[in-house]
Structure formats: C-alpha cells, structure tokens
C-alpha cells in the first residue's frame, strides 16, 4: 500500500522523523511497519513513533551508512509515495495495561520510538524512561517527555552533567523495582545485558519485554 510523505524532519545528520499520511490505518502503540521506496522491492521494519490519536504516522529513523532504505527515505520529497505494510508485532501496551501498571522503558538510540508512541497514546501512563545515547545532541523531542521521569545516559560526551556511561552501567547503580513492567528496545547487546541485570536484581522474566533493532 502506498502512503504519501507529509514531511521529513531532520533531527541530526544521522537521524530524522518521517511523517506519512495516515489514511484509515489502525495500529497499537509500539507496533512496527515495513517501509520502502515505491517499486524498489526493498523494505525495512520501523517502530511507530507517533501516538494512535495523531492524524499521521511518524517514524524515528537512523540513517544507516550504506543502508539501502534509510538513506533513500530521507531523500523522499513531500507528496512522494512510499510503500508501507503493517502494522505488526506484539511489543505493545494495551489501554488496560497502561492504566494499571508501572512501567520502566529502557532504550538506546532510536529504540525510544515505541516508548514515544506509548506516551503520546497514553498521556496518563505511569512510566520512567532510561535512555541511552552517545551525545547530548541525540536528545530528540525531549519536550514530549516528563523530565522528572526521564534519565539520560550519555556514553561519549565529556561535558554532560548527567549520568556518563551506558544504560547498563546505570542499571547497575540503581535499585530496581521488581513490580514494574520492563520494556527494552534498541541494540541487541544492550537488551542482552539489561535483561540479565534485571533478572539478577529480581525481576521476573514474565515482566520483561524486548524488541531488538538491527
């Protein structure tokens, strides 16, 4: 199915937000879509960034060096059509779960996308985000999050006043609330290490959900 590009918002030399027309598509916050250029025959999976009540679809995309889809999408012009399939996946929070649970979202890089979708969809959700990025410039759309619920771990910025190091370094330093539901999204190594840390600190495997980005 083809969807028009509404705009491309550049966030940094490597990252942008692709906004597409929504048409009548329904999805659950956190799900993913396959997107590719029209008639290219190639696509990649991207988690939804926007909330279910927004009149468009947004995706937070990191441009992969020599990547065949992410680079091409960045060059798409408003009005141009892209090929989109989906939604797919079960990395989601239902309205009922959002009402009754406490959540910790752990992200690296563009892995924050599904959590942004959760928060836009459920403004009253009780959450905490631990976001791992390389430099302070990667604090994308931070105005959309409640700053008291957001911890940023920066691994490559000497001037950062907050936590310096990786998400996993941070997890080692804090008390883990075993009553929370934990959602992990981002690179596979972070997920593997964080999962292990959470398990060691007493979180049941039944309360940890993961989505690795490749």
């Amino acid at each position: 199915m083809f969807y028009k590009v509404l705009n491309i918002r550049s966030l940094s030399p490597s990252t942008y937000i692709l906004r597409l027309e929504r048409k009548k598509i329904n999805f659950k916050p956190g799900q993913c879509f396959n997107i590719g250029l029209k008639a290219s025959g190639i696509n990649r999976e991207y988690s939804i960034y926007s909330g279910i009540n927004e009149p468009y679809l947004e995706f937070l995309i990191k441009e992969v060096q020599r990547g065949s889809v992410s680079s091409a999408l960045r060059k798409a012009n408003p009005g141009e059509e892209v090929d989109l399939h989906g939604p797919y996946g079960s990395f989601v929070v239902s309205p009922d779960e959002a009402k009754h649970n406490l959540f910790t979202f752990i992200a690296t890089g563009t892995g924050i996308a599904p959590f942004h979708s959760f928060i836009r969809t459920y403004p009253n959700i009780d959450y905490r985000i631990i976001n791992g990025i390389r430099t302070a410039k990667e604090q994308y759309d931070y105005g959309h999050y409640n700053s008291s619920r957001l911890t940023t771990c920066i691994s490559r910025d000497d001037y950062w006043n907050g936590f310096k190091g990786r998400v996993t370094d941070y997890l080692k330093t804090i008390n883990i609330d075993s009553t929370h539901i934990y959602f992990l999204c981002g690179n596979q190594n972070m997920i593997q290490e964080s999962y292990e840390l959470l398990r060691v600190k007493g979180v049941s495997g039944n309360q940890i959900f993961t989505e690795a980005f490749f």
Partner: protein
Amino acid sequence: MKIAISYPPIVNQDGQKAMVSQNRNVQFFKKPTYLLPVIHGQAATWLRDLGFDIYWDDGNSQLKNFDQWYRDLLKESPNIIVFESTTPVMKFYWQLINRLKSDLSGCLIIMTGYHSMRKPEETLFNSKTDIVLRSNHIDFALRKLIPYIDEHSDWRSNCPIEGLMIRRDENDFFDTGNFKQIEPLDLSPDIDRDLVQWRNYAYENGNFMQTPGIYSTSVIRDCMFGKCTFCRYNGPDLTFSMRSVKKSLDEYQKLIEDYGAREIFDDSGVWYRGEEARDFAKGIIDRGLHKKDCYFGFNTRFGYFDEDTMALLSKANFRFVLIGLEAADEETLNRLNKGYGPGDVENNLQLFTKYGFFPHLTIMVGYYWQSREQLKNTVKTIQNLMFKGLARTLQVTLCTPLDFTPYHQECIENKVLLTEDYDDFDMSKLIVKTPVPHDEYYAAIRSMYDIAFHPKFLFKQIIFLARLKKKDWQFLFIYGFRAIRRVRQHIFNLTKHQNCETKVNPL
C-alpha cells in the same frame, strides 16, 4: 550421565517416513530427505563439551527401521532422552514415551519442539514425559538443565531455570516461567560434525545443489521479521538472534577445509541482511573461500537485499536462495503479515537471477479465505515467474495450521478447522473449511508442479544452463534428476486426497 538426542523413524500407513520439510514442519515422504536438526546438534555438542555422554540417535538418517531403532535405544539405556515434537507426530510420541518409560524405568524424557513448547501441559497430561521445554533454544536450555538435574536430586521441586514445565507427580506440574533467550548466540558451540555423523545428512537434501552438503551451525535463530502468521518463527516467546559474522565465517572455512563441503546451507532461520550480509560475503572472498568449489545458500525474505548486496553475495558464490512466496494476491499477503506486496516479488527475483542465484520458491495454497480468483492468480503468477526464468525450482504445500502459530489460533477462533485429530495435520490434506472445494486447491498444486515439465520452462532452463560454466553442468543434471524425483513425490503426497474430501476426521 548419558543423554540420547533421539529421532525415531515414524512410518505412516503408506510406508512413508516422517521427515522435516517446508517451514520445518513434518511431512511423510517415501524418498529420503535428511535434514540435520541444527539446534539439537548444538545442544548435543555443548553437553558433550560439558562432559556428558551423548548418544546421537537419528533413526531416519541412520537408515534404521523402528524396531531396530527401539532395540538400539534400549541397549544404550540412556539416563535422559530428548525428543522434538511437532503437531502431526504428537500422538505417536505420547505412545512411544509411555512405552519407553515402562521399558527404561528411571530414564527421564524431555520433550522439545514448537508444538509442546506452546502446550506443555497437554504433553504432560497425555504421556509420562518428565519435562517440557518452553523454548526453541534447546541448546541454551539443555546446557543449564542437564547439569542441574545431574547435581540436584530435588530438581523436580526446586529447579530455578526458566522456561520449563516439570512433572512433580501425575497431575502436579511445576511451571518455571517464560523462557527468554537473551544470551548471545555466539556462546553456543559449532556443531561437532562427527558427533552428529554429518555424512548421513550430506547427500539426500533438496536444498543441496552439490554434495556433500552441510547445514551450518545457526547463523540465525528464528527470523528478524518474525511476524508472518503461519510461520513458527512468530511469537512473543521467540527472540531473534544472530551469530557474529566472524564466528560464522570461521565455521564455513572449517567446513570447507576440514570436511570438504561443496555446499553450505543455513537453515536456521532467515539469514543475514544488510551490513552483516555484505560483511559475510566480503569475508568469504577475503578468505578465498569463493574459489573452493563450494556453493552457499540460505533462507531469505523478499525485500531484504539491494542490488549491491546481491552482487557481492553472487561473487562470493552464493547460489541457492529459498524464499517463501506463499501467495500472489495482496489480500493474502496482508492477512499473513508477509510485510511486502505482490509487486516486490518480481523486482527481487529479477535481481536474484541477474546475479546467477537459483531462487527456490515455496508456495502454499488452501488458506481458509482463499478464493478461486486468488488461487488462480497464484498459479498464473508462478507460471509467469517460472516461464520468465525468474525462479528455478519450487515447492508447493497445503497451508496447514500447526504448532499454535497465530494462523493456527486464528483457524481455531474462526471455527474453520475440520479436525482436531493431530494425525490429520501432516500437510497431506486440507483440514480447514475453504470457500471453494478442496479439489481445486489440489488441482492448483498439480498445475504448479506441472510447470517443471512444460516445454517453455525447460527451454528457459536450457538457455540458463548454457550460460553457466561447463563444470556446473554435471551437478545440475544430478540436481535436476533429484528435483524431478522430488516433484513426483510432492505431487503424489499433496494430491492423494483429491476426491477424498470427507476422509478428514470430522469433529
């Protein structure tokens, strides 16, 4: 402690043996297809490395009949037997396990596999199985479980390892919680080829264009996409993971240099794409492995490779590419969550064939919604692709809901299943209500297989062969012969129920 990893020869009333086939489901075949169970091979190697005595017991590939297999197993008298379940052989396994528990008292039975992992209580209720693994990462699970059992006599009540359903007594089962594979795949060892008697799997396998062929140790575990509703690589209980490129390359090199592999196929999931695929191809070239007369093959999805990557893979001597087409109409692809549209198929196949790949298409018919028009569209599209030379071989199966995949659950919820008897789930007949008579789907299968004998297709193949190097001809004749034998077998299997629609056991 002796551990048997066992695959009994299971023979049906037509004298056909149960063998792993498309989508890793069991089908019954008379002619052999021996697929190495890769993850179990890794488990066996890992346990052996930990000091356990391993009895690799694949009755099929070792050409045993059931009685011989059973006698040999009793003689070995293992402490633990590990089986692998899938829907159509569940009843067989339950009976077998009860018999074994009576003949080998004290022997523990561990059931693995996609069916039992999703319905563990069922297997514990219906047989004397001791433990059901709720994970498809058999290697990681057994590596923890077996030493624990060895060291703790109270393992039934206190086992802390997640992802198990343990029998405490007849009706008391201990659920240790969901298993989640989060350890790096690199930790699991390369399969010890001698331990699994690799030569038994090196010749009779339709995915090998040249022999001896070898299945690589899991390059991939499951599927990066993992959303197709009919596929077993789909579910919140599965976690995609992949080996590092270097570790895979090291193994490929060893298989070529130490074992003389002439074909290496990865059948452990949907293979690398993007950067990893390019790095792997470059690694093969840098190590000179592309000049060792060995072909490489893998499973992939439409939409995964750009032209540059395909060119690089081709240069590295990749040839056999197994791709699921499933159906040709947009509605079916959407309902199956395939993640691409019909238009992407031809684009991809053009590139694959441009770079000398041998695309092998796997197609299914008989979805519970599939209309006559959709079915005709699939047949017409396949004919078109084959006549254009965009695919070299194909395999068609009846879409059979299996192992509690989302499609299976959907069939149950929509009340379209015609049977609950697991024996009927062997992919030899349609077991769902369909909008058109079942015979039309069987006829469609025959039409698609008949393409292999159509003069137009044969002409296209000859033109294609003429472009190849002379040395490629010899194996292509061998491959062609095996392919025709297989086509005849598939036609027999998949159309033997034509005009017998009522044979399915009604609910």
